[in-house]
Symmetry: C2
Subunit: 343 residues, 2 copies
Amino acid sequence: MASPTIKDVAKSANVSIATVSRVLNHSNTVKIPTQKRVLEAMDILGYNRNEVARSLKFRHTKTIGIIAPELSNIFFMEVVEAMERCLAPHGYSLIITSSNDSVEEEKRKLQIFIERNVDGIVVMPAGAEGQHFLTKALSKIPLVMVDRCIEGLKVDFIETDSRYGVHQMIIALKHEGHKRIGYIGGDLSIHTAHERLFGYLAAMKEQGLPVENRFVYHQDAMTQASGRYLIKQVLQEIDCPDAFFIANDSLHLGATIQAIEMLSASQLDQLVFASFDYLSYAPLLKLCHYAVAQPSDMIGEEVANLLLERLSGNWNDYPKHIMLRPEIKVVRANGGVPYPMSN
Amino acid sequence: MASPTIKDVAKSANVSIATVSRVLNHSNTVKIPTQKRVLEAMDILGYNRNEVARSLKFRHTKTIGIIAPELSNIFFMEVVEAMERCLAPHGYSLIITSSNDSVEEEKRKLQIFIERNVDGIVVMPAGAEGQHFLTKALSKIPLVMVDRCIEGLKVDFIETDSRYGVHQMIIALKHEGHKRIGYIGGDLSIHTAHERLFGYLAAMKEQGLPVENRFVYHQDAMTQASGRYLIKQVLQEIDCPDAFFIANDSLHLGATIQAIEMLSASQLDQLVFASFDYLSYAPLLKLCHYAVAQPSDMIGEEVANLLLERLSGNWNDYPKHIMLRPEIKVVRANGGVPYPMSN
DNA sequence: CTGAAAGCGCTAACAT
DNA sequence: ATGTTAGCGCTTTCAG
């Protein structure tokens, strides 16, 4: 009834459990005939090796724990998908869990990972708080953060180069003739929101473009609802900018939908967006001229490789900070003006 | 250096490991002072319970293995997210993996789950082949299939009621005055593609609408690229339908983008879509009048509950087939005609 | 080339 | 109320 163990196989093949273990681990010190007997016994019994027992013995589980603020975030799941492609061939499985955007839940999930003896952890942190990453138990487990980092926390960290992306967007917009470029983003406690705003500010300054406080919007989470709300505020202003840099896909989606609802066709023609993120439905975001495509595959690969490095005991360059350059997409340049792939 | 075990705690608190185990498991047979000593020892040593060891002892791991054709499928990840909400409170963790749309890889991942002693498995199968779900080892592990099932396979299965959804779409389209309604779908070996086509055929017949073979398109996977390709074929026909039911979001996206590229504004006004799936960017699919929103949360909950039921040893109604009714969305009805929420 | 036995960390019967 | 011990399934010296 219960699953057969090496003991059962041993009995059935008339050998000791040690021998069974040997053929299981391809130790070539087993005589061919015995080996065959063992293999046959395994086959007829339907034996499967028990990873739990091995994990206990080896003190590693060949699992990586992953925590994301939400699982239905395409960007992050693309990263995870790439990670799995790299990690699975090395025998790792992924335990994936959501923090539901709550630091409390993040803590709880972290504790579970520790108890489950995961070999490594990757997290996209929920908040700006990170003391819970500093426990004694965690100090023995490779941990890499993705996309968002926590101020002052010394851990491996991999992200998209936000400032580069924003910079390119501002240049492109300026090249189209726009001078007064607004900003729509989110709460600064999130790392990416912070980086994108400051990238915008820096690029505007560098390009000699004026920044008006009343056209820089960045409250709350970067959601579709917030995008709708913020663009509505902006459009109600008199004399508002005709171009905006928008900090992510959800805001962009919200802003586009709201603008289409509010404006006439001719007014719509006067509005142009450039934004972070480039998803499957990008061609439908009709106000969008330029976009920054996150290198999610590359991020996933880098995370996996860094993890593998740490797992193999190499901590030379710890803590490592990797910034990956995003791809710039020209969705529809104005009047066929070629985009200046400068830099 | 290594993580402290109950042995270390026992020594430090001057008790036996059994006592430590007792306080760990809230057995109230331990005197308060001893209990306090143990708790203190745990605290100063930074003890964490080892789930691997417990798993070996208990012969269960409190993990559920999940296999999807791809991880960046929002619908499926929404289902998973809902599952986690239900399962986490019961102590379960989710091991999530991708079959990359390959039956071979699905087999491999299944084997890994068996070796890892997962307590339950949920899979959205990659293909139409399912012999590998019938092994001896698998017969002891609760398995539930989601969204797609395999012909003739006796397992628990939960899906959206495709035929109901399609039926509503056809009625709505007819109510707008359309008579010649085309179909854009995918390869019939996939369960959902099959159901949606036959739902379309049945509904058309029931409504007394003519089905012309040359306006029923269903080759290949249901991808964006295929959507572009198929609508292109259709639009090149002379005298083609002005309304289409489209079988999923990716096809819909592709068809919309392609149509916008190919047609003039006035031609576009003559084209209307109704489709399966209703995602965040639905308002941007400007040809869409009606959509079927998958009840992903409900599916996740049902999967979790069924799993919990099986895990608790209740196999009464096995194999169970649950069909969940999707929500019908009126995206933009023609001429303000109210949608007939008939049935 | 193969077997016996210890031990990974924990639980639970059995003793005391 | 607490301690002793066997055993979960496996790997790995150490003997033979």
